[in-house]
């Protein structure tokens, strides 16, 4: 039998991650940690808000994590990672100077240029602020392109609030409206208490036909907030969410993230509410 094996020179494995160094790391909460990465090959990366990376720790595995920095062509990227299992726990043990493997960007993301001239409503719940932040920062960096910008953010307790410095910055800006609420306050908390839908009462009614909403958070929150958005008259096609599914390959092959005939890793994770409705199993 012939022993020859073929190794096509052009075959590059889409599973091989690029090495990236942690250049900044911060504990946001007990469970959530913030990282900024730079690629070791110095090639940088270009991505759209809403896209994600497969973060790899050899020997443990991979986990899909949204990029939370603003979109475009950049040298670095940021993520906020919640320790939820093996890979994410292992990532939490890493610090500045350590390297991880990154594959991506993956997923569809959303080109915000297409929304030029529209009003933007961001609704983020919990860790959903991570992917949402990429949209928010992208919008704020290109502030002149958009109409009104409104940011609603809800978290369980004041201790769970992420990106404190961003929140302060957004609060201080006068070209956007920023409201935050917590489910349960503590002694020092003077802000809103209550679920995120209560914030809808506090904002001016948007120009419904001309508003794009980004609703990103846990499935339960999504259901209730979509209701609010629809009640305000927003169009199904203009309400966007990010779906979470189990993922292994990120290449539309392994089948884990499949919802009916879409692969979340390729066709998503950003879907309009119109699409989510069609998927039925979406939420």
């Amino acid at each position: 039998m012939s022993q020859a094996t073929q190794q096509p020179a052009e075959a590059v494995s889409p599973y091989l991650p690029r090495a990236a160094k942690i250049v900044e790391a911060k504990d946001f909460t007990e469970q959530e940690k913030y990282f900024r990465f730079e690629f070791e090959d110095g090639q940088g990366i270009e991505y759209l808000p809403g896209q994600f990376m497969e973060v790899s720790v050899f020997g443990i595995g991979e986990a899909p994590i949204s990029i939370c920095s603003s979109g475009g062509k950049r040298d670095d990227l940021e993520m906020c990672i919640r320790s939820a299992g093996d890979v994410t726990n292992a990532l939490h043990e890493l610090n500045v100077g350590d390297t991880v493997g990154l594959r991506g960007p993956m997923g569809n993301g959303l080109d915000m240029d297409a929304m030029e001239g529209m009003d933007l409503l961001f609704v983020a719940g919990g860790l959903g602020l991570a992917p949402c932040r990429s949209f928010i920062l992208t919008a704020l960096e290109n502030r002149e392109k958009f109409g009104r910008v409104t940011i609603l953010y809800g978290s369980r307790t004041p201790k769970d609030l992420l990106y404190a410095y961003d929140l302060d910055a957004w609060r201080d800006r006068d070209d956007c409206e920023f409201l935050v609420t917590v489910d349960r306050g503590d002694d020092d908390w003077t802000g809103n208490t209550g679920v995120i839908t209560t914030l809808f009462r506090k904002i001016d009614r948007p120009d419904a036909a001309n508003t794009a909403a980004f609703i990103i958070g846990p499935p339960v929150m999504f259901k209730f907030t979509v209701l609010e958005a629809l009640a305000m008259g927003l169009r199904k096609n203009n309400i966007y969410c990010s779906l979470e599914r189990r993922m292994k390959c990120g290449l539309g092959k392994c089948g884990h993230c499949q919802i009916r005939n879409v692969y979340v890793c390729q066709d998503g994770p950003i879907f309009s509410y119109a699409e989510v409705m069609r998927l039925r199993e979406g939420i």
Binding site: S2, T5, S56, G101, Q258
Partner: protein, 361 residues
Amino acid sequence: MLPQILPKDKLADFARFLMGEYRLAAPVAKGHQFAFEFIETPEDVGRIRMDYDITILPPKKFLHPMYEELLRFGGRDPATGEAPIQAEPTVILGAHPYDLHAIATTDAAMRAEPADPYYATKRDATLLIGINIRGYVNDEQFMADMRTTEPPEGGWDLFMTDLGDRYYVEVGSDAGSKLHQAAGMFTQAAGDDHKAKQAFDNEKASNLPKRLPYDTRYLPELMSESYDSLLWDAVARRCFSCGTCTNVCPTCYCFDVQDKLNLDAASGVRRRQWDSCQLHTFAEVAGGENFREHRSSRLRHRMFRKGKFIYEQTGKPGCVGCGRCSVHCVADISILEAYQQIADEAAVSAMEIAAAREESQ
């Protein structure tokens, strides 16, 4: 590329010729059933069974192996990773037409951008030699409905039909043409041979009646109609969620990826292995949320993939009608029966079905 003749008593010689140039896989008996195995020794050649009814696992196991190394790493440092993408030149001898169709389907799925180089490399290094069927071998088959009784348009190299003392060999590619020339034991088919092949085809056609009450062009639509049917709950009552149906399915290709560590607990391999949408962990994420927690939703998902999604994605059949999933199901759950049942209850007018039936005849 004209059809060729291979005398039956030359089959062993042909197999030995193939073994000289390629890794050869062919059907052999496995207990009372059959399986594709590598033919490695002269003794193995004698075990080849071109008259097999159907194999337990389809030939996908050579192109999309049940365990496949994706990466090797020396430790946590991502710089230590490397990707061994390679393939040995291989011949799969004796694939039935429905399996050739299934390979065409996985070709389309795995080569869709972003293409999977592991699959593609193996596939490019593999020659397919088909063998014809005479009819159904069990009550669960419905290849005629799925239009997979003849080989697909392309994608195979040689296709053999058993004419008693000889094989009538159609040539499907340049590589196939080169192969039979190099083997040097084929002659060009003549008038009698063509006649005999025609007779074979006629008989075969009569052995392959349609088994569905509608044209499968309507299958995707019928599936959509049945999304909320109670049928899925009813069938799921018996389903063990054992994953047998997907493992034996020639068009199922879902997989899991896991890191395997060496004893230094640092170096190891990242490998993929077949996974099944029927297993309850398949759609479960960290924190315990399970997006297809109920057996019935998993079962429905499989049936939808087979009857609708894969077809919509690849334009090729998501189910080739081979019947493996139903034959091997411990609980006797039959996909053919499900396809029949959805027609009964779907909101498709009787006329539409009648029209479809007429068209398909």
